[in-house]
């Protein structure tokens, strides 16, 4: 039997068609609409937006559909599309203190101004498969009850409350990030990652980083590989306004709202005889509702801050963490091993054969010491 070794354009086309067919599945089952994915697979959409670093629920939903449900592949599609977009403006920093909150919890205070707002969460569900969901076409779930009173419009961030008392370190801009204006903040998507990265770039890299990777690293810090003794100061999720300052106007205008999840992790205090004790912060922020990711990010951020003083645990090693956190890079490079390596393998094959021959000759020479080589 002849073994096919060469791929051609027709073969590639056929593979693409096979993919399209497999992705669609049984055509007797109705085609998923992008709107269905956007509305009913919202957390998948949120993850694709966060790691794709592009806020567009429709596009993310379409990418999920095109990617056959594979989220890293959908993230990749969104990233590649992002490359084709010009950067028209740099927004003002979003103000999460003015968030339209849908969820807000703190593990450090039982009650606090604005209260605890549980919002949509899996936290207290029993993870029992709900077979009722399998019955399609049923009535939609009843609307969740409204609160007796509207949410407190003033919902200060826990970190700000602690900060007012000087109990937590101030967030200070890193080196090169002062000087005012949004342009002072480096943009990881427009300039290469170099080390040491600085906190602004680091937070950007973490915000785009692979949720699974960051989750495992965060977990490792809780198991003694870089102890940080964290408390969830506050998690909040909701909508924030994005503002830009058009040059010809000179004042900010709102161009839209985005959903974000923010986590402020309050960590072990630092201090000495001369410096009063203070809690330290770890910060996580993601596009969309990605609570697990925001929490993991805040733990890893804090771990990396410790790393500034000397690396100990993997999660404290900036180069290790940031160089390997991107799912598009990691997935690509791991999977590139399936590309042809005939030439390199041939070189190795040839070398191994030569080495084996040399060994055999040495043994042969030892046996036939008197014979002249031919």
């Amino acid at each position: 039997m002849y073994v096919a070794v060469k791929g051609g354009e027709v073969a590639i086309d056929n593979a693409h068609q096979a993919l399209a067919e497999a992705r669609r599945g049984n055509t007797a089952v109705p085609d998923l609409t992008v709107a269905q994915i956007r509305e009913q697979m919202g957390l998948a959409v949120a993850r694709v937006m966060a790691e794709g670093s592009l806020y567009d629920p429709d596009l993310a939903a379409l990418a999920i559909k095109q990617a056959w449900g594979d989220l890293p592949e959908a993230i990749f599609l969104v990233r590649a599309y992002r490359t084709t977009l010009p950067r028209l403006a740099v927004s003002e920093p979003v103000d999460t203190a003015r968030m339209l909150v849908r969820r807000r919890v703190s593990a450090t205070f039982k009650d606090l101004p604005g209260g605890q707002v549980l919002g949509p969460t899996f936290d207290y569900t029993h993870r029992l498969i709900d077979f009722a969901l399998a019955a399609e076409g049923g009535p939609p779930p009843p609307r969740a009850p409204e609160a007796d009173r509207p949410l407190d419009p003033a919902m200060p961030r826990i970190a700000d409350i602690l900060g007012a008392e000087g109990l937590i370190e101030e967030e200070t801009p890193g080196q090169g990030e002062t000087g005012g204006g949004a342009n002072a903040v480096p943009d990881l998507t427009r300039q290469p990652l170099t080390y040491p990265a600085g906190r602004a770039v680091r937070l950007q890299a973490l915000a785009r980083g692979d949720e699974g990777f960051l989750l495992s690293l965060a977990y490792s810090t809780q198991r003694g590989h870089g102890n940080s003794h964290p408390f969830v100061g506050e998690i909040r999720m909701g909508e924030v306004a994005v503002e830009i300052v058009p040059e010809d106007l000179g004042f900010p205008v709102i161009i839209g709202d985005v959903t974000v999840t923010e986590c402020q992790m309050v960590n072990q205090f630092a201090g000495s005889k001369t410096v009063p004790a203070q809690f330290t912060r770890g910060y996580g922020l993601t596009l969309g509702y990605n609570e697990r990711k925001a929490m993991a990010m805040s733990l890893v951020d804090r771990a990396l801050r410790h790393g500034e003083l000397g690396q100990e645990a993997p999660a404290q090693d900036e180069e290790f963490v940031l160089s390997h956190a991107d799912v598009v890079e990691a997935s690509g490079f791991v999977q590139h091993l399936k590309l042809p390596h005939y030439v390199d393998f041939q070189a190795e094959l040839d070398l191994v054969r030569r080495l084996r021959r040399a060994t055999a000759e040495d043994e042969g020479n030892a046996v036939r010491a008197s014979e002249a080589p031919t």
Partner: protein, 330 residues
Amino acid sequence: MIPTDDTADTGAAPESGYTFGYLDEQTKRMIRRAILKAVAVPGYQVPFAGREMPLPYGWGTGGIQVTASIIGPDDVLKVIDQGADDTTNAVSIRRFFRRVTGVATTERTAEATLIQTRHRVPETPLGPGQILVYQVPIPEPLRMMEPRETETRRMHALADYGVMHVTLYEDIAQHGRIATAYNYPVTANGRYVMSPSPIPKFDNPKMHDAPFLQLFGAGREKRIYAVPPHTSVVSLDFEDHPFQVQSWERICDLCGADDSYLDEVIADDEGSRLFVCSDSDHCAGRRAAGYRGPRADSQAGVALTDAMAAVKREHERDRPAPPSSEEMGP
């Protein structure tokens, strides 16, 4: 609006919805600046803000970005992977550029103005007008000895390269010879130790004092480096264990070439093997000129030749009628 996956190649103009070369003009300028710096300092890895491309990291995104930022409408592009124009990844990248630039493509090394390659330098010598763009997975030659970029950058800055010879020494001590067969480190312009990308060391001598421009793009690692024309590229070695390239005791089974890099092809399920040129254009050109290898007429040899010819016909069909000079084959 997302460009649709329209399979019709016009071949003459970039598909609507894309910028010429996919990248926006600002990005191209940024990459060109990195290339200029790289050319000015041969072998030095210039960081650049690599973008996500629609092909995965590891598939040649660095080379693609370099090509995309220097390609012009009059260029004639050739893309090879493992030396061959007909490997799937080469086909896919060539098709990508046809789609987003509309430039002419070719399999003939001599006709190309721009050649993007993974893992080989073509057998046909390149001339002054040509540019060779290498796809690079790991641009840092010191990486396996020192994983930390903060340290490797310092080692490059100080030309602190002793560790490279430590590994070569260790090869000889353990194996009796330098056991690096590909991605064999070189010194560019007498200064920077450089990865030649994972080409077999057979190709290293072609880089030295070459009349053509060599550009290296590493997309995931976001580095560009270069070897300008007529620059020394010296493979690391010892005086008493000089650098040597692979040589074969056999010749190409299809075209009889005795000076090309040979791929081993397992020809049937009995495990019988053919040795054929890895450079498909070189092999096809020789066969068209009437050269015959020892097993060109064997069943396996004929089957392989037919498969290659079929792939080539697909390529010809997939683009506008080529000038008659491109006609090839008996």
